[in-house]
Amino acid sequence: MQLQPYGVWLAAASLIGILLFAVQCKQKGFKKETASWMAVTAIPLSVLISRLMYCLCRLPWFMEQGLGWFFHFTEGGFMVFGAFVGVVLAAWLTAKVTGQSFARILDMASIPGLITYGIGRIADLIAGQGYGWPIDDWFSVDAFDPEEYTGMSLFHLEDASFFEGLPFSVEDAYYGNYRWAVALFIGVAALVFAVVLWRMHARRAGSRAIMTAAVLCALTVLMESMRQDDLMRWGVVRVGQILSALVFAALLVICQLRMPRPVKRSVIIKEWISLLLSMGLVMVAEFMLEKKIVFLDFVPMDGCYVLMIIACVWLVLAVRSAWKKQDA
């Protein structure tokens, strides 16, 4: 058995998350045992549930491998969504054991969780995951005639060496070319949002957790769209994006249930329409990226990604509208 660089990085990210959580608990006057209970439950639950979700999402394949494969952790196969579920479950268990508010503990776990996600996401690059398109292809470096660009970027570069290497790209050890470091972009974005959410003022218990979940899902949608390496699909659909859509819907329901009564039906309908439209825009952007919308074929891929980023921001805003009302 040997140390796995990815595992080491992930363990370090988790340790940072635990320490941040412990510091926050102390500052906010939580019971002394809260942090230790959260730590001791969150780690195994996150690992096991992320493994379980991976197996469930690929059930026929998993059954072919045999149940014993579940424990072959060194072979890889984890879903980050399972880790989110694990943390939520750990917060619930901690609340039960320590006799404190579940929503407040979840709020407390939000920022450390987002930071752990951000740092952990960067580790994907160590495992040869989280790559985007090759830089050369993106900028049509090999096209001698600028008109013959690959259709990826609007910008044609004859020399893209500026973008070769961190923080823009990582070398694909297999082919020796440089590919966009998507995992790094998403990881950094998560860290930036952690700061934003940390400074955000939330009145009600659970509000910070709801917004953190929305940001995590939006980042997942964007990342799944940008990465070009191995990712889980159901047919042509990316599993992470489907799960994110379900979480967004659940978050909206939670926010609407938490709104002070009476709530106008038109408000609820308007919020659902906004969420569904933003999801529709994600789908359109995704189809445009796959060049499946013939009449929009002319849009370069950087244009498609701008549209995807707008759609992801809209997803968060769609939930935020209801979130604000429930937090008022």
């Binding site: 796995q4 595992g7 080491v8 209970w37 780690i43 072979e75 995951q129 090759p134 990712l231």
Partner: protein
């Protein structure tokens, strides 16, 4: 207090376990989507062909002895199936879609499944039937001369005379094996044996392990072994990759034309060819090719990589206006003349 410390200690232990156990967030694997065309095809896995038991006269071992004359009537209308009492061969066209590390691809692949009645029907031929003559010829010409029902390029063993363990049609030519190649041995039962990182001693040991009375008929020195007993091999650990001396190791990760010969069962074989371009802009890496073969034939006994790129040639007879012609089943734009073929012959008089 003690319980608190205990929980933190357990947490630390779990973090250490994470560092040892979690190697990657996802499995590195390639999924294939197939679109098959051809007779006797449903979906993956492809089944080995059947052949009704028939008494056939074995062909003589001598390389100058070729297969029996093919008959036009035994070819189907699409030129995709040849059947007689001694051989059954079928071409399947697969438009395969997959994603490798460079992105998505959609390429043409051809699979020729062959079942023979007698092991002497799997044979090899060399250009001008002469080991010392290094002139190359078109694979189709060699296939025509040999009356091949199906033929595939071999390992280009006449290109250099300085390496490899060479036995063809039972005749020994040279032993200059150096441990830098995986070698394929085909015995007199028509069974495949592989020797990894083959040198003289390991090949000798493998031959001595043959069942009593079984002889070595052909050996090939290219590789690497792609699949053995249904298990995809890690190409980064293959003989050439480990030796780090041959230029081939640099070509393994490239997208290129690939071709392999596969033993599926007793006297059941397949030739698998994937198209591509020698400039590495399309095709499969050797690892992806191995996974593709495993996807087609999960129970393959042995799949052995042959000389790909411009050497890739798979030949099948064709009825052209009532005349039998031997042509590549797919035009390889980078095709070159070669030095040897492996072929399947008819033994029906």
């Amino acid at each position: 207090m003690k319980a608190n410390v205990f929980r933190y200690v357990v947490t630390c232990l779990m973090l250490v376990a994470m560092a040892f156990l979690i190697a990657s967030p996802a499995l590195a694997e390639t999924e294939f989507t197939h679109a098959f065309e051809g007779p006797d095809v449903t979906d993956v896995p492809l089944a080995p062909l059947t052949l009704e038991a028939a008494d056939v006269q074995p062909l003589e071992l001598d390389q100058l002895v070729k297969g029996k004359q093919l008959k036009l009537d035994n070819l189907n209308a699409d030129n995709t199936e040849y059947t007689d009492s001694s051989i059954h061969a079928v071409i399947t066209h697969d438009v395969v879609q997959f994603k490798d590390k460079k992105g998505k691809q959609k390429i043409n692949c051809y699979i020729v499944r062959v079942t023979i009645a007698d092991p002497t029907q799997i044979r090899s031929a060399m250009s001008y039937d002469d080991y010392d003559n290094t002139k190359r010829v078109k694979a189709a010409e060699m296939a025509k001369a040999a009356n091949a029902v199906a033929a595939v390029n071999g390992d280009f063993f006449k290109y250099f005379h300085d390496s490899g363990y060479i036995v063809r049609q039972g005749a020994f030519y040279r032993d200059k094996s150096n441990g830098q190649r995986d070698v394929l041995l085909i015995d007199s039962n028509g069974d495949f044996h592989v020797v990894y990182c083959a040198d003289s001693a390991s090949i000798q040991k493998a031959v001595e392990a043959f069942p009593e009375g079984v002889k070595l008929i052909n050996s090939f020195n290219l590789g690497p072994v792609l699949v053995e007993n249904g298990e995809v091999k890690d190409i980064s650990q293959s003989a050439v990759a480990l030796a780090k001396k041959s230029g081939d190791q640099f070509q393994y990760p490239y997208r290129m034309q690939r071709v392999a010969i596969v033993q599926l069962g007793k006297l059941q074989y397949a030739i698998v060819e994937c198209n591509g371009k020698a400039d590495a802009s399309s095709g499969m890496s050797v690892q992806v090719f191995a996974e593709y073969i495993k996807d087609l034939f999960p129970d393959a006994l042995v799949a052995y990589n042959l000389d790909g790129g411009g050497s890739t040639n798979v030949i099948f007879p064709k009825n052209v206006k009532g005349k039998l012609k031997f042509e590549r089943i797919h035009k390889n734009p980078d095709s070159r003349e070669i030095s040897d073929i492996i072929y399947f012959a008819s033994a029906e008089e």
